[in-house]
């Protein structure tokens, strides 16, 4: 019997296959090169014009960094307040939940009208875009904290500030982090999309500019950069989540049956 390959092996095989097809399909003419330039040409363009890509990427990174600051800072603050205070929760949470469902991209022209077509409008737009998932997950994280834990802490004499720093914050970190990962991804999308719509700089702007002159290899070069940026962010965010959520992931593993069993001698078994 053949052993079933590990999921990670399968993932790598699929990725390799995609890359091979990317090279072969345009080369053999199955897909016209205008639609999809071969992988090798795309890489060649990236290597040749790396200065241009690097300088536009730095603009995008700068905008993403500030937008994330807004999304995370304001999102966590607003989420903590609405999650923690019943009055705010009842007033604001339904409003924000419905706003989250609105495609905010349609408001981007208004952002350019208010903040110009430079970095400022991108930062604010993407910040608002990423704000909602951060805020909503933070609020949910705080609302769903086990009331028994707070009761236990109070019985041990925890003051309100101690309840916040020693129970509410650690208990909501896993949820908040997953919100940050989602919000961060949306911020990147927000920056790139707004660069594609109206701007004079950034990776998204490169996509638009080269598309108008039908330079497919350069368009795909920019797309590859955006993909790499998203993947890098997601990998980083997951790594941080894994590190801070030892107890959570371990709990999940236990449910799946890989329980780290407690080894005690039957004679002296501690129950």
């Amino acid at each position: 019997m053949m052993r079933r390959p590990a999921p990670s092996t399968v993932r790598w095989v699929i990725l390799a296959a995609l890359l091979v097809f990317w090279e072969l399909f345009p080369r053999t003419g199955i897909i016209p090169e205008l639609f999809l330039p071969p992988l090798s040409k795309t890489i060649a363009v990236l290597v040749k014009d790396w200065r241009e890509y690097a300088s536009e990427l730095s603009v995008t990174l700068y905008e993403v960094a500030f937008a994330m600051l807004i999304a995370c800072g304001a999102g966590i603050l607003a989420g903590a307040l609405t999650g923690g205070i019943a009055l705010l929760r009842n007033l604001l949470l339904p409003v924000f939940s419905s706003l989250y469902a609105v495609p905010i991209v349609i408001l981007y022209p208004i952002f350019t009208a208010w903040f110009g077509i430079g970095s400022q409008s991108k930062i604010i737009f993407a910040g608002v875009y990423g704000f909602f998932p951060v805020m909503l997950t933070t609020a949910a994280g705080i609302r769903t904290i086990d009331a028994q834990l707070l009761l236990a802490a109070r019985s041990m004499g925890a003051s309100l500030p101690q309840q916040i720093t020693r129970v509410i914050i650690p208990a909501s970190i896993p949820t908040v982090l997953s919100g940050l990962r989602l919000g961060g991804a949306l911020t990147i999308i927000g920056v790139v999309v707004s660069e594609m719509l109206t701007s004079a700089a950034g990776i998204g702007y490169l996509v638009t500019r080269y598309r108008t002159i039908l330079d497919s290899p350069h368009v795909f070069g920019a797309i590859v950069m955006i993909l790499l940026l998203s993947i890098a962010f997601d990998t980083l965010a997951r790594a941080i989540e894994r590190r801070t959520m030892v107890w959570q992931t371990a709990g999940r593993r236990q449910k799946e049956g890989e329980r780290v069993d407690v080894a005690v001698k039957p004679a002296t078994a501690v129950v």
């Binding site: 109070r154 041990m156 004499g157 020693r166 107890w247 407690v262």
Partner: protein, 266 residues
């Protein structure tokens, strides 16, 4: 001098817990919910008192009030001679039904938690928590996280945490309810060992009549809501208790008497 001392010794020891004319009414969604009426009870220092009663009769509410976690609408509670109006971990330790351990802290850090709240020095914390870990029979398990412990072990950690500030009174709200029968018996036995080593005053809520008789000096039976105390049953079985006692007539009769009282309340 000697006269004075003997006066002190002969004076009846003040009860550890005194509840007088306590009533409580919740402001429920559909009007007021009377949960407890006219509860009066006295628990002498070092006694083990078990409360039984139908679900929803107010046992948890009563315990929360004794712990200072909730305010009663009427009546008074004195613990160690002073009224209780806020949680005081130096007088009262609480063990909850759900182990309610902090999942992000190791067993040892969980036990240290109350000491960390009052910023006790690190070495003192460690030493004290390790003593507690040994007391509850978990030596060597301090570094484990709650999800790496069995249900019984988690409750051992909870008990250790409840005792770490050395409060004279320990309140336990159905602490073994989630455990399987065998583990539950072992834990009851272990609790009695810990109790005899530490000389605490214990108030213990349970649904299990066997557990009630096995553990208690005295069993208080509560009525259906609004809870009143409808019977007080002294358990004359000698200590230390053994599993064999469960098969005796005395044990069976006590259990039967409690059952009859509760059944009437149905």
């Amino acid at each position: 001098m000697t006269a004075n001392l003997s006066v002190v010794r002969d004076a009846p020891a003040r009860a550890a817990i005194e509840v007088a004319d306590l009533s409580h009414t919740y402001a429920g969604r559909e009007g007021p919910v009377p949960a407890l009426t006219d509860i009066s009870m006295t628990v002498g220092a070092g006694r083990f008192v078990v409360i039984v009663g139908p679900s929803g009769c107010g046992k948890t509410s009563l315990l929360m009030m004794m712990a200072g976690l909730r305010h009663q609408t009427a009546g008074t509670i004195h613990i160690q001679g002073a009224p209780i109006d806020a949680p005081d971990p130096h007088r009262v330790g609480v063990v909850f039904q759900e182990a309610s351990l902090f999942p992000w802290l190791s067993a040892l850090d969980n036990i240290e938690f109350p000491l960390a709240l009052r910023h006790a020095p690190r070495e003192e914390r460690r030493a004290r928590a390790n003593d507690m870990l040994n007391l509850v029979g978990l030596q060597g398990f301090g570094a484990r996280y709650p999800h790496e412990l069995s249900g019984g072990m988690k409750q051992r950690v909870s008990i250790a945490r409840g005792l770490v500030q050395d409060p004279p009174v320990l309140l336990m709200d159905e602490p073994f309810a989630a455990l399987d029968e065998q583990t539950r018996m072992t834990m009851g036995h272990e609790l009695l060992r810990i109790w005899s080593q530490t000389a605490k005053t214990v108030v213990f809520v349970t649904h299990s009549l066997t557990e009630a008789v096995y553990l208690a000096d005295e069993v208080l039976v509560m009525s259906a809501r609004p809870g009143r105390i409808i019977d007080r049953i002294a358990v004359p079985l000698p200590r230390p208790r053994t599993y064999e006692m469960m098969a005796t007539d005395v044990f069976g009769r006590l259990r039967e008497r409690i059952w009859q009282q509760i059944r009437k309340e149905g």
